[in-house]
Every structure is written in C-alpha cells, then in structure tokens.
C-alpha cells in the first residue's frame, strides 16, 4: 500500500542512529574538520557547539553528503552512508535544515510543504500524466494535503499557507524549513543554527516544538553558537574547536571544562 511509504516507518535499530568516525575535510591548506568522532543517541537533543570557524557547518555538510570527506566514515542506522549522494542520505531518514533558511521563494508555503514527503507516486512523470494512473496520484495528494495542514497547524503557520515562501520573515522561514524537513519522516534531524535571526518569542516556540518532537521519538542534532541555549536545552553537548572535537558530555561537565572556556574566551588562535 502506498500509505505505508508516506506514513511513519521507524526501523528498530541501535540506540545510536548516527555515528561519525574520524571525519576529516581539508580545503586547500586548511583542515576544516580534523578527525571528528562522535555519536548521537536516539531520542535525544544533542548540541554541537563551538566558536566561529570550528567546523560545525562543514561537519553537517559532510554528514549529509553535500560535501565528501577526505577521510572518515558516517554511519546511519548501521549503514555506511559516507559515499552516498545527499538525496540518498535524506531518503534514509537523515535530514538537515540550513543555517540560512533556504525556502523555495517562488513557491507557496503549501507547495514547499507538499514537496517534502517521500514516496510520492506522482513524482513519476507517466503517473502524473496518464489518465487512469493520475487518479492514484490525486488520491495520494489528498492524503498528503491533510498531513501538510496538520503540520502547518502544529507549527502555527497555517495562516501563511497561501503565501509565497519568499515573502515570509526570517523566523517564519525557519519554522517553514523545520516543518518541511519533518514531512520527510526523518529519523534524525540536523538543525543548523535554527535560532539564528529568530526573535526570543519565536525562539521559545521553536524550542517547545523541538522538545515536543523529541518526546515523540525524533532525534535532533543541533548546531548552535549560543552556549546558554544549548546548555539549557541539551542533555548531551559536543564541543568543536578548530576542526576537532574538544570535549563532550553533559552541559555541566562541558561548562567546567578548562579547554572549552579557553576556546570560547580565546586563548590560542
């Protein structure tokens, strides 16, 4: 049945869906990511922090296949996904959002949302065009539409549904991006600075959404600058500095780590 492919399917696997080992990326003479190794536990909100240029975004790009690493492996749900294309990784349930929200500006919020779900029959040209086959497409679109409206309501942006995504404010775009990513039925969501440029009220709302979703069983890896925000919301924190994993642990452990304090307050550069 088609509905299986578009509704949630959650394979039961290990407790660490995402494992990164010895990940390395060089740009010319600069080693942006230098042997990063860490794991993300299922059902947690894990924070990845570090000062500017620590290699957080590059790590994200390496994990999601937008860049290919010079060394190291990325394992997702027990499968080595290091050399897969970005769309193959997303298809397996490891989905990212972007640091600068990348809404599809000339498409409406609804179109943006309808794009995301996996396994859409109508993505085959012939099914969308041929008369009898199209009925199945219309049927599936009707089901998707309902899910899309539910998700819009969850994120409280249903009043923007008909709007072109390019007309949204920065914060609304962040909401749209997260809502859109959710519709792909991800197992793990990588959020790249979801709070940058978002006002405090909206930030709190986004955080509430994230916590609620985590309670439902989603796994999050969160890149963030803001130490306090991470410290208050994540149970596990990974600190990067100059391409390396400086330390990891609970917020308390990390906060009292000398190396972390030095990295943030500036020591060696």
């Amino acid at each position: 049945m088609m509905s299986d492919s578009i509704t949630r399917s959650r394979p039961d696997v290990t407790d660490t869906p995402l494992r990164v080992e010895n990940l390395t990326k060089r740009f010319g003479g600069i080693t942006a990511v230098d042997g990063a190794t860490f794991e993300v536990e299922r059902g947690t909100l894990t924070g990845l922090i570090g000062p500017n240029g620590a290699g957080k975004s590059t790590t994200f790009n390496l994990i999601t296949g937008m860049l290919s690493p010079d060394a190291g492996t990325v394992t997702f749900d027990g499968e080595d996904v290091t050399d897969l294309e970005s769309y193959e990784i997303a298809d397996r349930g490891l989905v990212r959002t972007f640091q600068i929200a990348r809404e599809l500006g000339e498409m409406t919020v609804l179109e943006n949302m309808m794009l995301a779900p996996k396994g859409q029959r109508g993505e085959r040209l012939w099914r969308s065009v041929l008369p009898v086959a199209r009925r199945g497409v219309v049927e599936q679109e009707t089901e998707l539409l309902e899910r899309v409206w539910e998700t819009l309501e969850f994120f409280e942006i249903e009043h923007l549904a008909e709007e072109y995504a390019g007309n949204l404010s920065g914060g609304q775009r962040k909401l749209l991006e997260m809502a859109r990513a959710l519709l792909t039925d991800p197992d793990v969501l990588l959020l790249d600075e979801p709070f940058a440029g978002v006002n405090p009220t909206l930030e709190q709302r986004l955080l509430d959404h994230i916590h609620e979703l985590r309670d439902q069983g989603y796994t999050f890896l969160l890149v963030e600058h803001d130490m306090d925000l991470i410290m208050n919301n994540c149970r596990h924190v990974i600190v990067m500095h100059q391409g390396r994993i400086l330390t990891e642990g609970t917020p308390e452990e990390v906060k009292s780590d000398e190396a972390v304090i030095e990295a943030y307050l500036g020591g060696d550069v």
Partner: protein, 454 residues
C-alpha cells in the same frame, strides 16, 4: 438595469477571464480581428487575406508549441537551453531519413530514406531529439545553468554543421534482412527534398475526412475561383497546428500540476534544497529535459514536413532566440503565457512587419525603393522629401525586424520582466491545496471539480 446587475456582469466577466483558455482565445480573436480589419480597410484581396491568415495561424502554431516546450525547460525546471534549433533539426532530419521513400523509386531526390510510414518517422524524430537531449544532459545537467547554455548552443551548431558536411550527404544502409543496401543521406548543404506523401492529406485520409476536405475546397473555390487548393491546405494545416498546441498545453499543464512538476519547480528555485529533501534531482532534470527536447523535435517536424524541402541553414541559432523572445513576452513559468507569447510574437514581431509591408505595397503601390542608404537619405536632407527614405525603410523590413525584436526584448526586460501576465500562480499540485473540509475552523472553498482526475 440596476448597479447590482452591472456588478454581477462584471463579476461574471472577471470569473470568465480567470480561465486560461478564455485569455488565449480572446487574444487570438484580437489578433485575427486586427489582421482582418486592417486588411479590409485597406482593400486587401480576399485571397491575400486568406493567405495571410493561414501563415499567421501557422506561425502562431509553431511558436506556441516551441514556447511551451521551452517553458518546460526554463520556466519550470530552470534549464537554460539555447539550443532549441538543434533538437528541431534532429527531429525533422531523422523523420525524413525514416519516412522518405527508398532511393530509385522515381522522383528528383538525390537520396532516399527508409520508406517507412509517416507516423513511424515522426515518432523516430521525436525519439532522436529526446536521445540527443539525454546525451547533452548526461554531462551538462550536473553543471550550473550557464554551462548547460554553452553546451546546448554548441550542440545545435554541431548538428547544423554535421548536416552540412559532405560526409553525411549520402551513404548506404542495409534496409532488408538479407542485407541489401539503399542510398540514404542528409543531403548536405543543398538540402533534403521531403518527397514523402503530403502529411496533411495523409492525416485527413486516415481520419476519413477526405470527402469533407474536398467539399471545403469546393466551397472556398466559389469565393476564390482560381486554384483554391493551396489556400484550403494551408488553412487546414494551421488549424491542425493549433490542435497540437492544445495537446502540448494539456500535457504540460498536467506535468506542471503534479508532484513531478513540484520537484521541477523546486529544482528551479534551489536544487540543493530538493536534494536535501531526498529528491534525486538528476533524474527529474533528465526526464524534463528529454520530454522538452522530444516536443521541440516534434515542433521542428511540424514546421518543416509540409515545406517540401529542408536545409541545415534554416536551423541557425537566431531561431532559438525567436523562441526565447516568445517565451519572455508571455512570461516564463506559465503555460498560458507561453501560448500567448508565441501568438503575440508570431503576429506582431515575426509576421507583423512582413504583413505590413505586403499590405502597404499592394494597396499604395509606391513604386521602386532606393537601392541603398545614400539615395534614400539624400532627398530627406536636401529637399526635406521623406518619401524615398520611407520606401527604403519599408523595403528593409526583413532586416529591421531583428532590430525591432531587440528593442522589444530590452523594453520587456526593463518593464515587464515577468511577461504579459505578470506574476503567475500556477500551483504545482494535482489537487487544489485548500484546507480539507472535515476539520479546521475556516470555511473551505468548494472543491474545484474533478477536471484533474480524468
């Protein structure tokens, strides 16, 4: 009588105008009306009228189809294809190769073809254009837009020069299972005679309308006594072409209004996002590109298969840019706009100047134009006599046409970059995206009919 009645009428009219088909038909009515009225006012002959209407229809048809196909590439997927003529050329040449009669079966042709039926040839031509599209797409679609542009225009020139080369002028291919060969080829620079049976008459024969067609010729013969056959032929062919435009329109509308079209749109907007959402964008781009190429191949076939002969130099890059102008006039991204742009381009920029020239010459019979710019401009300066200069301008309308097109293009880019229809909203979904009725507080608009699921 009352104002509410008036408002009702205005509202009804506005709703009618909202339908795309109405816009297109209205535009066509205006164009044909303008041609007819200006012809009648100036006393153009009936034969001249009918002929100009027929060629107007023809060009509206071919530019409409081409603009629609290009809109799939550029408007929907953001693929910058400036090699349209290459795909048209491959379409008609492969079609001729397959459908021309075998060499030696009489006739003036230097080379023969495979002698297969016309529909097989047309299919083969479209398939070949699609395959060429695939070959171009393989390396180029992975690159950014401007590289695809370079590859496509280079390809179209390669096709033209390959067809011009003497290597492919004539050669032998086996045409039976026992290995007998026959002389085929592309005719080189001197062109290829298209000596297959007349496609329009063949079509009319197949659908069993020969009788009706003959009666139509007889009917037209009463008003245009001398040789009505070619007039009827070209008029009917024009109507068939408009039918093809309608089929293209239907096909591309369905393609756009679907999950497939949605992915194409997202590729146009930001391909990385589409990939990050798990869409294999290479597959979508290749499919879209090949479909558009096949449609361009068919447009090439329809343009030339009734012309008796084809030469490679017909397919100069200039023609590609004509199609681009048509698309930009109408507004990229909109199928309705593409058709309207094709029609306006054909009527005003492509046929308009020539029609104007014919009209003025046949009505005023102004005599010989000066042969060069000097004799044209000197009376204007010495005697303030603008007449020779005007005559000269009129005589050079063909050349000036390109200047006019350039000016129009510049004006459009400055003032109407989104085309005639402005910002168009053609939603990429197979259903209306209104909130489902069962839940949610707001009233939902009535579900708009089942027009999509048929």
């Amino acid at each position: 009588m009352s104002t509410t009645d008036d408002e009702g009428t205005v509202e009804a009219f506005r709703r009618l105008w909202a339908a795309d088909a109405v816009k297109i038909v209205a535009l066509l009515v205006v164009i044909y009306g303008a041609y007819l009225v200006s012809g009648f006012v100036l006393g153009y002959s009936l034969r001249g009228q009918l002929n100009s209407l027929a060629s107007l229809t023809f060009y509206i048809g071919v530019f409409g189809t081409l603009a629609l196909a290009l809109n799939l590439h550029w408007g929907y997927t953001g693929l910058f294809n400036i090699g349209v003529v290459g795909f048209m050329a491959v379409g008609i040449y492969v079609m001729a190769f397959v459908s021309k009669p075998l060499y030696g079966s009489g006739g003036a042709a230097q080379v023969g073809g495979l002698g297969l039926p016309l529909p097989v040839g047309i299919l083969a031509g479209m398939l070949a254009a699609a395959l060429l599209g695939f070959v171009v797409a393989l390396p180029a679609l992975r690159l950014r837009a401007d590289y695809l542009a370079i590859v496509t225009i280079a390809m179209s020139e390669i096709v033209r020069f390959a067809l011009l080369s003497s290597t492919f002028q004539q050669f032998q291919v086996p045409h039976t299972l026992s290995g007998e060969t026959t002389r085929v080829g592309f005719g080189g620079g001197s062109g290829l005679i298209l000596d297959f049976p007349d496609p329009l008459l063949a079509l009319i024969d197949v659908v069993g309308l020969s009788g009706a067609y003959d009666r139509l010729v007889g009917l037209v013969g009463r008003v245009v006594p001398n040789n009505p056959d070619p007039i009827v032929h070209s008029l009917v062919y024009g109507v068939v072409l408009l039918g093809v435009v309608a089929v293209y329109f239907w096909l591309l509308k369905r393609t756009g209004e679907s999950p497939f079209g949605r992915v194409l749109k997202s590729i146009r907007e930001d391909e990385d996002v589409a990939r990050a959402l798990g869409k294999n964008t290479d597959r979508f781009k290749t499919t879209s590109f090949m479909l558009g190429c096949a449609l361009m191949g068919l447009a090439g076939i329809l343009w030339l298969m009734g012309q008796g002969a084809v030469t490679p130099n017909f397919f100069r890059p200039r023609l590609t840019f004509f199609v681009w102008i048509a698309l930009i006039i109408g507004g990229a991204g909109s199928n309705t706009g593409s058709v309207m742009g094709g029609a306006v381009f054909a009527a005003v920029l492509y046929q308009g100047p020539l029609y104007f020239q014919n009209l003025v010459t046949s009505v005023f019979q102004p005599g010989e134009a000066p042969s060069s710019f000097g004799p044209a401009i000197s009376p204007l300066i010495s005697n303030v006599d603008p007449f020779p200069f005007l005559l000269y301008t009129l005589d050079s309308v063909r050349q000036l046409q390109l200047v006019v097109m350039g000016v129009v293009l510049v004006w459009l880019m400055h003032n109407r970059p989104l085309g005639m229809l402005g910002h168009r909203k053609e939603t990429a979904a197979a259903i209306p995206l209104a909130r489902p009725r069962e839940w949610g507080g707001e009233p939902t608009p009535p579900a708009a009919g089942g027009e999509d699921d048929e």
